[in-house]
Each structure stands twice: as C-alpha cells, then as structure tokens.
C-alpha cells in the first residue's frame, strides 16, 4: 500500500471564501483561533455532536480528534464526516482521552484550529509492515508543496509537524526517522495510537475513514507562537544491567545480564519473576543513558518463554538502568512552567502522554490534581503507546506542542 497523497487542497482551502454552505461568523467569536473539547457521552453520535458543538468555528481549518477504541468507530467516522463536512479532520484511537475533563478512559476529545491560526496539510502512508522511507519523504514533499500553494512564502520557522501512527505496527522508529529526515528542521512530535485493551487494534483517522497499519502526518504553518516539548519524571540510578540477547525483530529481549530476560529484569529490581506484569513495568521502569540524558524504555509484556517485549528498539549490549521515579506532579508543573516561559499562557497544548504515566497517575491517586492542571493549560491529546519527538521514539514520556497567542509581525 502506497502513500495516499492525492491533493485535497481544493476541498479545504476555500475557508476564507465564505462558501454558501458555511455558517456565518457568529458575532461572539472574537478570537476563535483554537478550541479544545472533550465529551464523555457513551453514544458515539452523541459524543461527536457534543464535540462538534464545542469545537465549532465558522472558518475551521483543521480538527484533530482522539477517540477511545471502545466506541463504534464506524459510527464515529460517519458522524464526524457529517458534522465536520468540508473541514480537514484527522485523528486516532487512544487508550484514554485527554482534554478539559482530564484523563478520561472512555471519551472523545479534540481540538479545532481556525484558518487565522493555522494552515494545514495532512496525508497518510499505509502498509507500515513494508515501510519504504521514500514514501515518507514523498508525503512530506507533497504536504509542503500544498502548504506553499495555499500560504506562499511561509517561513520554515512557522512550520510544525504532528504524526499519529498505528501503535501495534512496531514501525515507529523507521517511520519517525524518515519523516523527521524529510522535514529537516521542522519540529515533529507525535504519538502511537492506542486502545483501551492492551492488544486491541489501533487506528488512525484520515479522509473520513479509520485506517490500520498507517501513519497520518500533519504539516502546518502556524500564525500562533508555538513550541514543542518533551518531558518525563524518570532518572537513571547506578543499578545497571546489560541486554545480552535480542530476537531478530529488535524489540523482543531474550536475555538480560545473561539470564532469561524476565529473570534478569526482576533481578535488577530485587523482585521475583512472578511479580512481572504491566503494572510492575509501569512502576519499575528502566532507562538508557545517551550523552548523559536518560531515555525511558518501556516494556510492553512478558512472554511465556521468559522473554520481554519492549515498546521500542533494543539491541545486545545496551545498558539498562533502574529508573528512579521523581515526583510526577512536580515534573508536570515544571514542564508547564517552561512552556509558559517560552510562549506565555498556552491557548492550547496538543499532547501525547505515554499510557504508563496515566496508569501511574491513577496508582498514585493524582488524577484530580493532574486533570485540574491539564484543564488549566487547555491541554488536549491522548494516552499513547509510545511517543515520537525529533525523529526518535520514546516511552513513558509526555510530549507535544504548545500554542500561544498570535505571533506579532
């Protein structure tokens, strides 16, 4: 399956032309540039309508939504196409939605950008199982050309990229790397689509349909201040172990410290192999240290043969460090403080938060506090199975892009 990169500019780019089928600009929308919303409605149609009501802008340029995999996706897609007809809509499924209501397991959340705030071009590549980097490069080229057509002479500094990728494809690393290489200095952030169950199918939404085994890429020119960010609350201790055998696929670790991977992992934390499980991996994470910086490496599952499946690439000889968990709330506060310092109070924060973090937040009983903070920051996003920033794939991290006020020219 090749890249689906047919131009659809003509569909989306007449926002300012005041087409007859668009509602007139409501008098109350003084600055409708960015809106975030979330719905808890159980019924997919009701949820989409609720979302539409909150996200509506007369001249919407783009809608990104995050949908819990429990919803009837066919119904969601149909209602999305009906409500947001004529607007560019992309989205994906997620383990949990993040929005004004906080972390909500079964919810539909989303963000809409007015045409004054953003000029967007999006596309998809499918068939990640046989991923060809040339397709990624071709897609980036087409999207940039489309942007150049609709907003000629846009400065590269005003461009950003956002991706949503099938989290079960295990293709995040090469895809992210290929996108980022083609994008050059344009910052790319994104997340792996998830599902409420550990192995349920994950989907990305583009051109009115949910797709498997695909990645959606958005390249946008922003007239708002923006900054991308990445943070996590883990730091490596001096307790280390070496990955001594890895299966050829690259993510299944067979041995740690010359022991069966499960035994080695448990031994590293002074635990019993029987203790291992999703909850254990969330509360006992490992990191790798590169250039003095720690990167969390998440474990997805322990297998019957005693091997461990990581959520990211591994290789023989990699040194794992037991991670020390710092205070997650402090990390949140610090991160948002940095954002505010960079762009002022965010008008919206589009974020990808690795699912382990929300599990940990729930375990620590911090949901209320964190939800309050997210609401205050106009955050919207989803719980991911890994996230991508600057061409690398990371786990147990929070990352995204924060938008500020309109750039003064």
């Amino acid at each position: 399956m090749g890249a689906t990169i047919e131009p659809r500019v003509q569909i989306y780019r007449h926002a300012n032309a005041g087409s007859a089928w668009r509602a007139p600009v409501p008098a109350t929308t003084a600055s409708p540039s960015v809106r975030v919303a979330q719905s808890r409605a159980e019924d997919p149609v009701a949820a989409v309508r609720d979302l539409h009501r909150q996200l509506y802008q007369a001249y919407a340029e783009l809608v990104i939504f995050f949908c819990c995999g429990d919803y009837d996706l066919e119904a969601v897609a149909a209602e999305m196409n009906s409500c947001f007809a004529g607007t560019q809509v992309i989205g994906c499924t997620g383990a949990a939605g993040i929005g004004p209501l906080g972390y909500v397991d079964r919810s539909l959340s989303g963000i809409s950008f007015g045409s004054q705030a953003l000029t967007a071009a999006s596309g998809r590549i499918g068939g990640l199982a046989d991923f060809d980097p040339d397709e990624a490069e071709a897609l980036v080229t087409v999207l940039r050309e489309r942007l150049e057509m609709t907003k000629p002479g846009v400065s590269e500094r005003d461009l950003l990229a956002f991706q949503m990728i099938d989290g079960l494809s295990a293709g995040e690393e090469p895809v992210t790397r290929a996108f980022q290489s083609a994008l050059g200095t344009i910052p790319l952030v994104g997340g792996s689509a998830g599902d409420s169950g550990p192995f349920g199918p994950t989907y990305v939404f583009e051109k009115g349909r949910f797709h498997e085994d695909s990645a959606v890429l958005l390249v946008a020119a922003s007239s708002l201040e923006f900054t991308s960010f990445c943070t996590h609350h883990l730091s490596g201790s001096d307790c280390r172990a070496v990955v001594t055998a890895v299966a050829s696929c690259g993510r299944r670790v067979l041995e740690i410290d010359g022991l069966l991977a499960a035994d080695g992992y448990a031994h590293l934390f002074g635990a019993q192999t029987a203790d291992l499980g999703p909850q254990f991996f969330v509360s006992h994470p490992v990191v790798v240290r590169i250039n003095g910086v720690d990167y969390a490496r998440g474990v997805g599952s322990v297998n019957v043969d005693g091997s461990l499946t990581f959520q990211c690439a591994m290789e023989e000889g990699v040194v794992l460090r037991c991670a020390i968990e710092n205070d997650l709330v402090t990390d949140f506060v610090g991160s948002f403080g940095n954002l505010r310092h960079a762009i002022g109070r965010p008008s919206a924060v589009l974020m990808c938060d690795c699912v382990e973090r929300s599990t940990e937040i729930a375990r620590l009983g911090l949901e209320e506090r964190v939800s309050d903070m997210l609401r205050h920051q106009n955050a919207v996003g989803f719980s991911t199975h890994g996230a991508q920033v600057g061409g690398i794939h990371v786990n147990q991290a929070l990352l995204g892009v924060a938008f500020g006020r309109r750039r003064s020219r």
């Binding site: 790397r177 001594t244 010359g258 250039n291 290789e315 000889g317 990699v318 061409g391």
Partner: protein, 416 residues
C-alpha cells in the same frame, strides 16, 4: 561419612553454580565487548539509529544554537549598518552642497543636490564618466586635481571649474575633494561641489561696476572726455616714454570762443550742449592712442603721443574748421561757434609736461589775441610767454567784466 559426602556434593554444587555464574558474567562481558566493537561498524540496528540520532541531534542542536547566535549577531550588525547607512545617506541627501563619491569606474554615489546642480538624474550620472560633467576647457584641470587627490598629495583648498550640465549650459562650480577608504584596497574620492554661478555672476557685476567707477574717476561726466587729473598723469607718463624712445609728442589746447556769452544768452543747458558737441567732434578726429580731455570750463587739451608738432597743428586746423562749420541746435535756435587753438611739441617747446602745456597755452593766447578762430603754434620757449598767456586766459574766461565786449557778431551769430 554422610556429612562428608554431603559436603562434597555441596561443594561440587557450589563449584557448578560458580562455573555458571562465571559463564554468565563472561557472557555479559562478551556482549559488552561485541557492542563496543560494533557501535562504529557496519549497518546500524534500530537501537543504534536511535542512539545515533540522539547524539547527532545534540550536535546539530549545539551547532544550530551557535549558528543562530552568529546569525542574530549578524542581524544586529546589519541592522546597525542599515541605520547608520540611512542616517548618513539622509545627511548627504539633505546637504545643501553637491556630494559625490567616485572611483576609476565612475560615480559610486551622488546626492540629490549634486545631480540637480548638473541637471541629470542620479541614475544617469551613475552611467556617466565624471569628466563628462566638466566643460571641455576645464577637463584637464579637473582630471589633474582628482589624480593629485587620489595620490594623497596635499590639495589646494578648492578647485574652481566650469561644469557642463546635461542641457549643455555651463555652471560655475567649486570643488573640494578628499580620499576615502571604500573597501580593502579600494579607495574612492569624495567630491563636495558647490554651485558658485550666482556668486561668480555677482562678482562679474561688481567688477563691471568697479571698472565703470574707475572709468568715471578719470572721465569728465558732461563730455565723456578724460578729466584733467587723468590727462596730467598720462601726459607725464607719455613724455617720459617719448624722452626714452626719442619720439615726438604734441599737445593741442582748444578753447571755445566767447563761450560765456553762449551761457549768458542761451542758458547753461545750451552751454552744455555746445561743450558736448565740440567734445564729440574732437573725439571723432582723434586716434585711439590720443588722449582728449576737458581741461577747464570750455578748454580742451589733446595729447598726441608720437605726433610731430606740425601734424598736430594740421589736426588743430581740421578741428577748428570742423567746429566753425558745425551748427548746434538748441531748442528752436541754431548756434554757430568758433574755437581757438594753441599747439606745442615736446621736446622743442618744453622739457616737462608743465612746460609743454605752458607753451601750448601761450600759443592759444596768441590765437585769442590774434582774432580768435585760428590755430597758433608755440614758436618760443615757454618761460618767456608764461605770464602773459595766463593773463589772457583769465580775461577770456570772463573773470573780468571787460571781456563781454570781446564777443563778436561773427563768432556767435543768432539765427531765428
């Protein structure tokens, strides 16, 4: 015994576990060594790419940061340069003098005043050799001036030259130039040019006025002939020259007969008319080198450098005839007048200008006393006749009451 066996079994189990542990650790070391050797080698694994991306990303980030700093510094400098450039350009454009920068290739910059002065647009000047803006006569001067300046030799304060405008007309300019460094090895010249046409015109007017004033100082205002002061100075000079060159010089004194009665009968305006008519008659008869002056009231003196006294007497005779044949119209009347002439020559009748004039004066007296309307040459040395001649003059100019009787009907005849 059994305990010994147990011990042996335990020892062998311990040794076995130790061997396993050693093997495990060897495996770990082996893997680490393998990876250590692999990192820089062949195709990278996914993890290797992940690691490399981070390392390279950090390098790129640092370099980008350095680049941004350099760029921002560059932008600051460029901005300052622009401000400075705008400031100086503004200064130059506002200037009331013409400013230009030239090098071998031509004009690098001209301000509005410079181009306006020469009647070109700034872009036209950019394509024009600087010498084309200079009048043909001054091109060499201009080029020399620039060459001297280019060499860095000390300059004369200002170069005054004639500029050639686009329409072909000329403009008087004053140029001050200095060298400026425009680049590494390049130097240009700054030309500051002032349009002094108005000043030059004023200067010319003043000069003409001065010339006229000087002329007025040596001329008699009524007749336009030289005045007595000028004549005396000229005659002294001419006599010195004649003495040195051994050339002759003659003096003729003419006096209008019965002039007082003209004034008395017809008024001073008629008298002035008579004086002007006689003056122009004399001027017409004179050569350019001759010096004709109004010597007294109705008395004229003409100096003839290089002319023998005989020829001067001939001249006097022609003048006499001319006067007596001329009718002078005053209002509705016509006047007929006559004049008497005395002629003397240097060196025969005097060695100094005073002696020569004295001799001519004496001859004039002789002519007056001989019946007027005639020419007399001075036949004798002046010292003998000086006193008598002065006496006659005093009587003639009417300072005694008896001279009115000398007016003859033939000399001054009224015609209705």
């Amino acid at each position: 015994m059994s305990s010994t066996r147990e011990h042996e079994v335990g020892a062998s189990a311990g040794a076995e576990s130790l061997r396993t542990e050693v093997a495990r650790l060897n495996r770990v070391v082996q893997v680490l060594m393998d990876r250590s050797e692999r990192v820089t080698g062949e195709a990278l694994s996914e993890y290797g790419q992940f690691q490399r991306r981070i390392v390279l990303g950090e390098i790129v980030r640092q370099r980008t940061e350095e680049l941004h700093m350099a760029l921002s510094e560059n932008e600051t400098i460029t901005r300052r340069l622009k401000v400075s450039e705008a400031r100086f350009r503004g200064l130059a454009e506002q200037s009331l003098v013409g400013i230009a920068v030239v090098d071998e290739s031509g004009f690098l910059y001209v301000n509005g005043h410079f181009s306006d002065t020469l009647g070109y647009s700034q872009s036209e000047l950019a394509a024009l050799p600087p010498l084309h803006t200079v009048a043909d006569t001054d091109r060499r001067l201009f080029a020399d001036h620039l060459r001297t300046c280019q060499k860095g030799e000390p300059q004369e304060a200002l170069l005054a030259y004639e500029g050639c405008k686009k329409d072909g007309s000329s403009v008087d300019l004053e140029l001050s130039s200095s060298r400026m460094a425009t680049g590494d090895d390049e130097t240009g010249l700054i030309l500051v040019v002032k349009d002094v046409t108005a000043r030059k015109q004023a200067e010319r007017k003043v000069k003409a006025l001065n010339d006229r004033l000087a002329e007025l100082a040596v001329r008699d205002p009524l007749t336009g002939l030289y005045n007595r002061r000028f004549m005396e100075a000229s005659l002294e000079r001419e006599i010195v020259a004649a003495a040195r060159n051994g050339t002759p010089l003659s003096v003729v004194i003419g006096d209008i007969d019965h002039f007082k009665s003209v004034n008395d009968t017809h008024g001073h305006q008629a008298g002035d008319e008579v004086l002007q008519t006689v003056s122009s008659l004399f001027r017409e008869l004179c050569r350019k080198s001759d010096i004709a002056c109004r010597y007294g009231g109705e008395e004229f003196l003409i100096v003839f450098p290089g002319m023998p006294v005989g020829l001067a007497a001939d001249w006097a005779e022609r003048a006499r005839q001319s006067v007596s044949e001329t009718e002078i119209v005053v209002g509705s009347s016509e006047l007929h007048i006559t004049a008497s002439f005395g002629v003397a020559g240097f060196p025969a009748q005097g060695k100094t200008w005073q002696e020569v004039i004295g001799a001519a004066d004496a001859a004039l007296y002789s002519a007056k006393s001989g019946g007027r309307d005639q020419v007399r040459r001075a036949p004798f040395p002046i010292s003998v006749c000086e006193d008598t001649s002065r006496q006659a003059k005093v009587q003639e100019s009417g300072r005694t009451s008896s001279d009115s009787g000398l007016l003859s009907a033939s000399a001054c005849e009224m015609k209705a």
